[in-house]
């Protein structure tokens, strides 16, 4: 498939994109997260697309998954309204505060801290401590 974006043309391996997207969608809807951090590497490394094509389009792709996953979870009675109403304003507020802080911290440091934090959390989930 050939994708045209702002005057440039890119060849895309649709099969790899769809199979990878499908797998990411299964995992992310099963565990209830967005899936962006997996989708972006798939499209940049796997499909060899430049970042400026990926930022918007990957969001659109995972949005399909999120909408479907939300509907299915709702159908199975996994949605708790009160819980949602507690978390939703916090998520919105977080999205508003974060850009103000982002200017003052180095993304490199944040990512290193995040990696360490994720590993600690993973150890916790494995029950190692």
């Amino acid at each position: 498939m050939v994708v045209e974006f702002w005057g440039q043309e890119f060849k895309v391996n649709v099969l790899l994109g769809c199979v990878g997207g499908f797998l990411i969608a299964v995992i992310s809807s099963m565990f209830g997260f967005g899936g962006g951090p997996f989708m972006v590497p798939l499209m940049t490394v796997g499909l060899r697309l430049p970042m400026f094509v990926v930022v918007g389009s990957s969001l659109l792709a995972i949005f399909f998954n999120t909408v479907m996953g939300t509907m299915r979870h709702y159908q199975f009675g996994n949605f708790d309204l009160v819980f949602f109403l507690v978390m939703f304003p916090a998520a919105i507020l977080g999205g508003y505060i974060a850009p103000q802080i982002a200017r003052r911290v180095s993304p490199l440091v944040v990512k290193r801290i995040a990696a360490a934090g994720l590993l600690i959390l993973a150890m916790n989930l494995f029950g190692l401590y």
Partner: protein, 443 residues
């Protein structure tokens, strides 16, 4: 700022729609009602009939036992609690008989268990999903203090413990009555059905005995931990008087808690009720079956949403495992509620990008269609795994994510990323200018 208002409006509209669909309005007004009406006396009388009706097997032995021994009676020291507390139960039983106390909440929650273990008789895997909406939100059997050692033994078995075996080991069979009568639906799942995402075919209702056996497995699936369903706290004196301190933890469901005493095998035809009140800022999450101080999840979500944006990954990755670890929330509810939260921030992002035509719809929709399929199957699988499996797999997902994060801090990636970001900025600028030019032309 505008996009936040927009997403908020969408959220409100969706919420109203869901409320309308759910009939939640009706449910909530019901929840409020019983608070006033639970003076101990009517509650005791109204429910006193039920144990007698259901105590059919024990009922035959009962008259003789009653004649021969001291009449059983018990009192509770309080009728109302505020977000949990300790209730002292005192009473007299025939000297020398072990006393068990069954406690259950009127508030119901959902419980499900997917049976895929090989059947010992036929050697086949049944693939049957057992489900109930009537599991008490709180269920506990208080056993004599002498059973403490046995309980410790059960706890040592780890996650492999069996509830029915535990009932036998602790001598608590006769005390187990309420969950045995809940309505359980079972579905025959098939491989094809699971792929399509259906629960499978509804099987005919089970007989009483089978229902009771399956209900025990559901009790374990719901409460998971032996400590949640047993407490060795009944202290009996040689003269037959007994004292038990029932601890209803903070975060338990609101509503009436029923208490019933069983001496040996004989149930007492009396049920006492204790009202547990939950007040702001504690909220009861009816689907999760637990009440939580609302500021806990609020600030956790806030902190993680901020951190998520900074590290360039959605918050869901860190939020979900923390939610299931910190609070006794079922993983299905966590997954099912975090997803819609993520959805709205994604929607606002898409709106922003589409305004400046920065989305390749062809590419996004093509991969999106494959992802819709995945999103159809995933939630079904959440239901089929246990919390332990959820945590284990999530652990590996986090390890992979951590590797991705570290990879993004390597020199090679950074050099490439810098170039990419410059191109991204350049194109974005162009896109924004084009959108602006178009807007001014239109005006």
């Amino acid at each position: 700022m505008k996009r936040y208002w927009m997403s908020l409006t969408i959220a409100l509209a969706a919420t109203l729609f869901m409320l309308y669909q759910n009939g939640s309005f009706a449910q909530q007004s019901q929840e409020g009602k019983p608070a006033a009406a639970t003076e101990a006396a009517p509650a005791v009388q109204g429910q006193a009939e039920t144990p007698q009706q259901k105590g059919v097997p024990a009922g035959e032995a009962k008259p003789e036992a009653k004649e021969a021994q001291v009449p059983l009676a018990f009192q509770v020291d309080r009728t109302a609690l505020n977000n949990g507390g300790i209730v002292t139960i005192t009473g007299t039983a025939p000297p020398g008989t072990p006393v068990y106390i069954e406690v259950w909440a009127d508030q119901h929650v959902r419980a499900s268990r997917f049976d895929s273990e090989v059947d010992k008789e036929t050697g086949k895997r049944p693939y049957v999903l057992y489900m109930t909406y009537d599991m008490p939100a709180f269920y506990k059997i208080l056993t004599p203090v002498e059973q403490k050692e046995n309980l410790e033994k059960i706890k040592k078995e780890g996650s492999k413990w069996s509830y029915s075996q535990a009932l036998k080991d602790l001598g608590a069979d006769a005390a187990y009555s309420v969950p045995g009568k809940i309505k359980i639906e079972r579905y025959q799942a098939t491989l094809m059905g699971s792929i399509v995402g259906s629960r499978g075919e509804l099987l005919p209702a089970m007989d009483e005995k089978e229902n009771k056996r399956r209900s025990m497995q559901l009790v374990k699936a719901r409460f998971r931990n032996p400590d949640k369903v047993f407490a060795p706290v009944v202290e009996s004196q040689p003269d037959g008087t007994f004292v038990a301190k029932l601890n209803i933890g903070s975060g338990s469901a609101p509503g009436t808690y029923n208490i019933r005493v069983v001496a040996g095998k004989t149930p007492v035809g009396q049920v006492a009720g204790v009202e547990n009140n939950i007040s702001f800022p504690n909220l009861y999450f009816s689907n999760a079956g637990t009440s939580i101080n609302l500021f806990g999840p609020f600030f956790l979500t806030l902190a993680i949403a901020i951190f998520g944006v900074l590290m360039g990954a959605g918050g869901g990755f860190i939020l979900n495992p923390l939610l299931v670890s910190i609070w006794p929330l079922p993983h299905t509810v966590v997954a099912g509620t975090v997803m819609p939260t993520v959805m709205f921030s994604q929607a606002s992002g898409i709106v922003n990008y589409s305004k400046i035509k920065f989305i390749s719809w062809k590419l996004g929709v093509t991969i999106g269609l494959a992802m819709v399929l995945g999103g159809f199957i995933g939630p079904k699988l959440t239901e089929m795994i246990t919390l332990a499996q959820y945590k284990f797999v999530f652990g590996w997902i986090l390890v992979i994510l951590a590797c991705l994060m570290l990879w993004q801090t390597t020199q090679g990636y950074l050099a490439k990323h810098k170039k990419e970001q410059a191109i991204l900025k350049e194109f974005k600028k162009r896109a924004e200018e084009a959108a602006l030019a178009k807007a001014s032309r239109a005006a």
